[in-house]
């Protein structure tokens, strides 16, 4: 794959947010980071986790991601980097990987104290899009896309809910972990990416440069990051 925005030196690396690149919505997150002027980098090997300001674990299938993070030791590298101060954000499957408890199943990275229930809405017919105002993230309504989404059922001490919908929590955070059960990367909303970049101590383009919902985005925008065929 053509790796874009690869930081060239150590100093730059500390201003970079990595996106776990094993399966799922990797290009979508890289596209959003680029929109707010933040360096993004695909993370495929344990060494790639070193010196990142933050890491995004994207949407995808959590069972697949859980298997792949075990094989080459990326899971352990993420835990080590987290212990050294790296921030992490998980969307959908990423949130499942980060949870201390996955209801009825085994848990994985266990970096945020919460109970999460996989595929909690039903089949693809129950996937939906909506909007919500999440004051901590943006004063404006943000587009939310739920695809076979999980539900956060309980949060522990040191974890706060940023959005409660009916009987579940959709957004939660601790001092260094952010989780969303929906996919900001599948919408024009860049407010979460900006919020996470600031949480990581970075300075993204502000609201006067890129609106919280970027009008220049469309659902094919991720394709600019897709690899060029080798044949």
């Amino acid at each position: 794959m053509v790796v874009r925005n690869l930081p060239e030196n150590h100093e730059q690396a500390q201003e970079t947010i990595g996106v776990l690149d094993l399966q799922g919505s990797v290009f979508e997150h890289l596209d959003h980071l680029k929109r707010i002027g933040i360096l993004g980098r695909p993370v495929k090997m344990p060494g790639d986790v070193l010196n990142l300001a933050g890491l995004i674990i994207p949407g995808g299938e959590s069972t697949c991601l859980a298997r792949l993070i075990d094989i080459f030791g990326i899971g352990d590298a993420v835990k080590t980097a987290f212990a050294r101060g790296m921030n992490i954000w998980g969307t959908c499957a990423g949130a499942i990987l980060l949870a201390s408890n996955v209801i009825g199943e085994s848990s994985h990275l266990r970096l945020i104290d919460m109970d999460i229930e996989r595929n909690s809405f039903g089949s693809q017919l129950d996937s939906f899009a909506s909007t919500a105002v999440i004051p901590r993230i943006s004063p404006y309504p943000l587009p939310l896309t739920f695809i076979r989404a999980p539900k956060i059922r309980r949060i522990g001490q040191g974890v706060i809910s940023l959005l409660q919908i009916e009987d579940y929590i959709a957004v939660a955070e601790s001092s260094r972990v952010l989780v969303t059960v929906f996919h900001p990367e599948l919408t024009g909303g860049v407010a979460f990416h900006r919020y996470f970049a600031r949480k990581c101590g970075l300075v993204p383009l502000d609201e006067s440069r890129v609106a919280d919902t970027d009008p220049a985005w469309n659902r094919n925008s991720w394709m600019r990051f897709a690899p060029v065929p080798q044949g």
């Binding site: 794959m1 690149d21 094993l22 399966q23 799922g24 919505s25 990797v26 290009f27 979508e28 495929k44 949407g59 995808g60 299938e61 069972t63 697949c64 859980a66 298997r67 792949l68 094989i71 080459f72 959908c92 499957a93 996989r118 595929n119 039903g122 089949s123 693809q124 017919l125 996937s127 939906f128 899009a129 896309t145 695809i147 076979r148 996919h183 599948l186 659902r219 094919n220 991720w222 394709m223 897709a226 690899p227 060029v228 065929p229 080798q230 044949g231």
Partner: protein, 293 residues
């Protein structure tokens, strides 16, 4: 289907990118596939290799069997309807699976019309041998495309042909002057607006997986390097000597498709692959890729 629903369906396919979708015929196989890291399973009564061998009319699988598999796994479940058989698709939608494959592996029910997929809330994936065929299916409402390849052969040659054909036609579209697009679209049976979209995006406007003949980790990585977004493995897993081991290896090689060292490690000691078929030895009437248009 409204625009928002179609978008959600295209986006579910986006979530599967970089993953492997495996054919399974019972609960036990579905669990092996999920455990190995498949991003979805295709529930069907007979894998293509058996359909090919046993002959006869191949239809949608027994919904009871699909329902059992749906209950046993938490990853998305897909199932096949015959080309043009919109009532089989209605049944699958009523069953609330996650994705319908309008598939040439089953005996076509209609030689003139494919299913009008815009009438359904559930997403469809359809097979294609070239860009024109892919765009016709998208025009009918498909939310995801796969190469047809030649299913049930364990021979990747047709999948490679179809992928390279699509890549070549996309390059042609991107590089030609605008005034040539109308003629190119006409000759290749491409809806004009979609041809323009491909020209702008330099790729298909939906996720495109490889399918039909993938049997080894190397086959999967080959298709990924050729530019597909993920792979389907049909008979290749459960017709091999050690399905669990092979399933894991294909998942690994698909995720690390650009890393020869990782593909090497994934390829070691997997036992016998499924027996393969030479395409030229298959009687003309038994080739599946020519079904549908």
């Amino acid at each position: 289907m409204d625009v928002k629903r179609y978008e959600l369906n295209v986006q579910l396919a986006q979530m599967l990118k970089g993953g492997v979708i495996m054919d399974v015929t019972n609960v036990e196989q579905a669990k092996i596939a999920e455990e190995a890291g498949a991003v979805a399973v295709m529930a069907l009564e007979r894998v293509p290799a058996d359909i090919r061998q046993q002959g006869g009319v191949a239809r949608m699988s027994d919904p009871a069997m699909i329902a059992e598999i749906k209950k046993a796994v938490s990853i998305p479940v897909m199932a096949k309807a015959r080309i043009g058989h919109f009532v089989e698709a209605q049944i699958l939608e009523a069953l609330k699976i996650d994705y319908i494959d309008e598939s040439e592996v089953l005996t076509p029910a209609d030689e003139e019309c494919h299913i009008d997929k815009t009438k359904f809330a559930l997403p469809f994936v359809c097979g294609a041998r070239n860009l024109g065929e892919a765009l016709r299916r998208i025009a009918e409402g498909a939310a995801m495309i796969r190469t047809k390849g030649e299913a049930g052969t364990g021979n990747v040659v047709e999948a490679v042909r179809h992928m390279r054909t699509m890549n070549r036609e996309i390059r042609q579209l991107v590089n030609m002057p605008l005034e040539e697009v109308t003629g190119f679209a006409k000759v290749n049976g491409m809806p004009y607006e979609l041809a323009l979209k491909v020209r702008e995006l330099k790729r298909l406007p939906v996720v495109n997986f490889a399918a039909g003949g993938i049997a080894t980790p190397a086959d999967a990585a080959l298709m990924m390097q050729l530019g597909c977004d993920g792979v389907f493995v049909g008979s290749g897993i459960f017709k091999s000597a050690n399905p669990s081991l092979r399933a894991r290896a294909v998942v690994r090689a698909t995720a690390y498709y650009n890393d020869p060292q990782k593909i090497l490690e994934a390829s070691m000691g997997l036992g016998e692959a499924m027996p393969g078929l030479e395409i030229s030895e298959i009687p003309e009437g038994q080739l599946l890729a020519g079904r549908g248009w």
